[in-house]
Amino acid sequence: MKIVVNRPRCEGHGLCEEAAPQLMHLDDDGELVLDREEIGEADIPLANAAVRVCPVAALRVE
């Protein structure tokens, strides 16, 4: 599975980083950086938590 960011939608709230700091963070400019794009079965709940918390639905797991 893979985490996909829709860059134009991302507003840099960073709630995803709070939900899944192991998988992603925002850099100093507030741009989202995926520390791990490809994820295994074990990380799917964490990735889903990050996806769910985004108020502009800029993340997907596919």
Partner: protein, 378 residues
């Protein structure tokens, strides 16, 4: 709590209900899960309705959330009409009754209306937003009643659509939510963009000719083609009338979101303990944090760490973007961490109790950093 949990019902398909359903699965619940939602739509992002959805040209997808993964049986377009706590049954308005072992109440809130007039529009659900969006295409004149964030976001969207807009506000708009300093920033931006602001005590709506109009407390009237009110929200607790669970201020829960050991509540309907007493915090991240704790508590009980919630609020209006962490409103002038008055800025206030508030205005900053800044000593 030793009996196995076979059936969980979640009443409400907003972000609280959705998060509760996800969190139940993450907590290990693999039984029968049912979500009841009174709107016919899949769960969506409510904050987007008064922001991007009112503004975006041809894009009407800004509210859409990724498809749900909780595998629940979704009963949509149906309202919960009653609860039998003893028999553990949720009654639906289509006559059905759903038995449960555990229940999540996330029935949300609705717009507080100022009248029964059909001309009074409100913006609470997706259908409201799409309807308002459609009406704006003809560029009607608009009067918005309510100077809080929602009223101001609606006014901003209507102005951007090319409408002439008057906003009727008790006191200076945004002051009750943000405090006078930040309210001043938003009011200046709104006036610059052409908003007409009318300050009034409690305004009322009345029928006039074939339509409706706003009557201010001094008797003056404001008329427009379109009348939208944004006067706060009322928790949806009527369906709990036969129980002793709900109070006027919402549904009281404990620090883990529980009403009773087998019933949790989360989101706009729930009043949770805070230093100032039980209160509802009808915000996106509040609903999510509450729902996570409440769902975990239903499955794991007292092992679940209690809710530790620090409010996160954001608004977009009149070309300004504000993000705030901590308890609003704030009083006095801020300490500027970055930037300064009149431009992008990172600001901090301290409350008398020692807690802090960090605010980013037109300044891109991740929430975790904003949270750290709110906690940093001034």
């Amino acid at each position: 709590m030793s009996t196995p949990i076979k059936r969980v019902v979640v009443v409400g398909n907003g972000i609280a209900g959705l998060t509760a359903a996800d969190s139940l699965r993450e907590s290990g619940f693999d039984g029968e899960l049912t979500i009841v939602g009174d709107e016919p739509h899949a769960a969506y992002s409510r904050p987007a309705l008064s922001k991007a959805l009112l503004l975006d040209g041809d894009d009407v997808s800004s509210h859409e959330l990724p498809p749900a993964t909780h595998g629940a049986d979704e009963i949509l377009g149906v309202r919960a009409s009653g609860l039998d706590v003893e028999r553990r049954l949720v009654r639906l308005d289509d006559g059905a009754a759903l038995p449960y072992d555990r229940l999540v109440i996330a029935s949300g809130s609705r717009a507080r209306r100022l009248s029964d007039l059909p001309e009074e529009l409100t913006l609470r659900g997706l259908d409201d937003a799409l309807s308002l969006r459609g009406r704006l295409a003809a560029r009607p004149s608009v009067v918005v009643v309510g100077g809080g964030p929602l009223g101001m976001e609606i006014a901003s969207g209507c102005l951007a659509a090319g409408c002439e807009v008057t906003l009727v506000s008790e006191g200076l708009p945004m002051t009750a939510r943000l405090g006078p300093y930040l309210a001043g920033v938003f009011v200046r931006a709104a006036l610059d963009r052409g908003l007409t602001i009318v300050e009034s005590g409690a305004a009322r709506l009345e029928r006039h000719g074939g339509g409706a109009r706003v009557v201010l407390n001094d008797g003056a009237v404001v008329e427009a083609d379109l009348l939208v009110s944004a006067a706060g929200d009322v928790p949806n607790t009527e369906w709990l009338a036969d129980t002793d669970l709900a109070t006027e201020g919402g549904l009281r829960v404990d620090a883990r979101g529980l009403v009773r050991p087998e019933i949790a509540a989360a989101g706009d309907v729930a009043a949770f303990p805070s230093p100032g007493g039980a209160r509802r915090v009808p915000l996106w991240s509040s609903a999510i944090e509450q729902a996570k704790v409440a769902a975990a508590a239903l499955v794991r009980g007292d092992e679940t760490p209690p809710l530790r919630f620090q409010p996160y609020f954001w608004t977009e209006q009149f070309g300004l973007n504000l993000k705030a962490v901590g308890d609003l409103p704030v009083h006095g002038a801020p300490a500027y961490v970055e930037g300064g008055p009149g431009g992008p800025a990172l600001m901090r206030w301290s409350h008398a109790d020692g807690s802090g508030v960090a605010v980013a205005l037109d300044y891109r900053i991740p929430i975790p950093r904003l949270r750290r800044l709110s906690r940093a000593g001034a």
